[in-house]
Symmetry: C2
Subunit: 440 residues, 2 copies
């Protein structure tokens, strides 16, 4: 077996992952919609031999855009513009199985994979933001189980669409005049409870065959879905123990379904605050936290936990007993992560808000480059991670610190590649190219 290798993605977020990052002097709000800013970031991530860059997404405006840079960069257009200025780094777009038409979505991914020569990945979500429903003719977000039900059918449909042209169906023989071998292009004739799609797709099969399937749900349904379909799993854990539990659970589920657990990469999020001394890190972290706005954070808390608190309660304890633990929200794994923080750390309301400000429930690692590298190595070697989704608190500076100071340590320790060995995202993740299910 070849040496196990760490995988690193850069999770791009307008302004940076810390909710107040856009207010920090290291950020330039004037460039928040400037594609060259993001192209440049992608180039730096490629120079650091990252596996991929990742764009989150949701088809609705967040409620709290008054205080934070919570608009959305549409992933397909943005990643296509990034593909044009990079050659190796993977391009992972979030897209919803609830609010997309499978034929249209299959085309966008096929095209991203063609034009990037095999670098597309799909972060498959059922959409977290319930207000999206109102933008799509619905009165309410479909319930959790129904969303996952449609997601499974959706995945089946788009997989068939990506397989609908066999690899050698495009002939383009100038001599004989045969452009495409239509015997190798297949209608998919899908009719299911949620979707009816005839196919075939209107584009030849792509360099990777299919985009890499990434998944980011951690509920029971989400894990079952990931275990069956995902090739990489984004997740959020605060403690090594929780990370190990999730990791072991997911690998076991995948193996139970007959899959090779090594082909299901577990990639927790980390938000690294980096400084040359612990005091410097603490000061930096405080700087960011002082820029947070309680109005925003209290809204976020309401959305995430259903808790309605006021500014007067900021320095008191979190009223744990008021948090509703049943119902739809209770299914969310992020919800559980936050409950655990409250129970474990017993923070004040302000303390909790600062904890969440870093990366919305993802793990913040504050330390020197060595300390950050140690944490990464520990999780990687102790069965909690195959790599990480890196969520810099501020961009671009937060990424540069990681690339310049942490990556060299990881390389020196033999944990992370020093050069790309392949060209596609599948290559970087060590995943085989799937055959078309229609191939004889």
């Amino acid at each position: 077996m070849s040496r196990r290798e760490l995988h690193l993605n850069l999770f791009v977020y307008p302004g940076g992952h810390h909710e107040a990052a856009w207010r920090h002097h290291g950020s330039d709000p004037a460039r928040i919609l400037d594609v060259e800013f993001y192209q440049d970031l992608a180039r730096r991530a490629e120079a650091a031999t990252f596996d991929g860059i990742f764009f989150a997404d949701g088809p609705a405006l967040a409620d709290n855009v008054r205080y934070a840079s919570r608009f959305r960069l549409e992933p397909f257009t943005w990643l296509s513009a990034i593909a044009a200025v990079t050659r190796r780094i993977g391009l992972i777009a979030t897209a919803s199985t609830t609010y997309s038409e499978p034929y249209n979505l299959a085309r966008l991914f096929a095209s991203l994979d063609h034009l990037s020569r095999g670098r597309a990945g799909w972060n498959i979500v059922t959409t977290g933001a319930p207000q999206a429903a109102l933008n799509f003719g619905l009165d309410a977000h479909p319930v959790h189980a129904e969303r996952y039900d449609r997601a499974r059918e959706f995945l089946d449909v788009v997989t068939k669409l990506w397989d609908s042209w066999e690899d050698d169906a495009l002939v383009a023989d100038q001599e004989t005049g045969l452009f495409a071998d239509t015997d190798r292009i297949h209608a998919i004739d899908h009719e299911g409870p949620h979707l009816k799609v005839r196919g075939p797709l209107n584009t030849p099969r792509t360099p990777q065959g299919r985009p890499v399937y990434v998944q980011a749900g951690s509920s029971e349904d989400g894990r079952a879905f990931a275990a069956r379909y995902a090739e990489a799993v984004f997740t959020a854990h605060q403690t090594l123990g929780n990370g190990q539990d999730f990791y072991a659970d997911l690998k076991k589920r995948a193996a139970g379904l007959g899959r090779d657990p090594e082909k299901v990469l577990v990639l927790p999020g980390i938000s690294p605050f980096i400084g040359s001394t612990e005091a410097e890190v603490r000061a930096l972290h405080d700087e960011y936290n002082e820029l947070t706005q309680p109005e925003y954070s209290l809204q976020l808390l309401h959305r995430m936990l259903g808790l309605r608190l006021t500014a007067e309660q900021l320095d008191g304890p979190v009223p744990r007993e008021l948090i509703e633990t049943g119902g739809e929200r209770g299914n969310g794994s992020r919800f559980q992560v936050i409950l655990d923080i409250i129970d474990r750390e017993q923070p004040t309301v302000r303390g909790l808000l600062h904890r969440l400000a870093g990366a919305r429930g993802h793990r913040v690692i504050a330390g020197t480059p060595e300390q950050v590298a140690d944490q990464i190595q520990e999780w990687f070697e102790q069965g909690a991670a195959d790599g990480f989704n890196v969520m810099p608190p501020g961009l671009p500076g937060g990424f540069d610190l990681f690339a310049d100071q942490v990556v060299p340590i990881l390389r020196a320790r033999g944990l992370f590649r020093t050069a790309y060995t392949g060209t596609t995202l599948r290559d970087h993740y060590g995943l085989a190219r799937p055959d078309s299910q229609y191939a004889a």
Copy 2:
């Protein structure tokens, strides 16, 4: 008033517009999915100071991909990759009001406009290919009138979405912590017969406010739609007389609706076969026609006219009496263009097939550079066109001939710009940037 100026778009088509172009030695089928091929073409069109490049689209596979390069390049991804390597040329994407979700489509265009700094245009179609219906859960393509009915409502919805952030809603003031002025971000609360969309869009208003509205339907419904909404109209005419009739009709309709007719540009398609002598042009044209495949062309004839003919009938007359003129198809303006060719020119079946092979009913101008420039000037000055959608028979060679040999003549005659004077597609077309309808 400033001098009237010719507008030119390059209509990009995989392989070129002549149906057999991909078989010609001037074509390289291996590059038919190579984004750099198209980026390079866009760079050349920008060097020739074209107003825009244009991608057609439809969410279904054509029936006749066996013989011709009739797959589809997804316009948003492809044009975003092109935006990344160009700075001025407009980027016009075709998208369907029948088979898109307005929220998703509004985001794609907003993003294309942001990342290209104001170069997006939307060719609004209701989708020609009826088989698309089967890829979207429907049993049949909605009838013509219903498609246009939805198109009008769709346009209203996406326009409101693009207006939903007023221009100054994005504040991003690091000092005060106000990221967006939510008093200037508006729910659209649309509820109509076809669509229900709350909004607002999840992205700030774009450089052009809205993409340029282009339209390509020429039926009665199509013209009425164009007269009300379109800022540029793509159309197909074979004779100056027909072009003049259409031009006058459309401008009159627009004026009748209180619009400035100069702000509705009429841009017929032309497919230029260019050679240094008439004999050379004829030889080139013959070379292309000899590469056509009757199986393909007969299928196309069946699809366009409902005529089922065999190879034995190729050298006989077109059986005009067998063409069904009523029904859905009869609504199509392209249908009428072809009927006129048959009535006017009385071609053999093969002759008609060769006529259509050039550009599917668009006008083929075969001639020397001077002759092509003369034709362009005549239509431009005789009230048939404000410019043209240039459809080179073969790519890239057919475009290079036009750019190198026809464009200098048009410039020397003072008809066409020698440099861009603005930066957005609206600038190139002489169109004002619209205010948000929500602005006070």
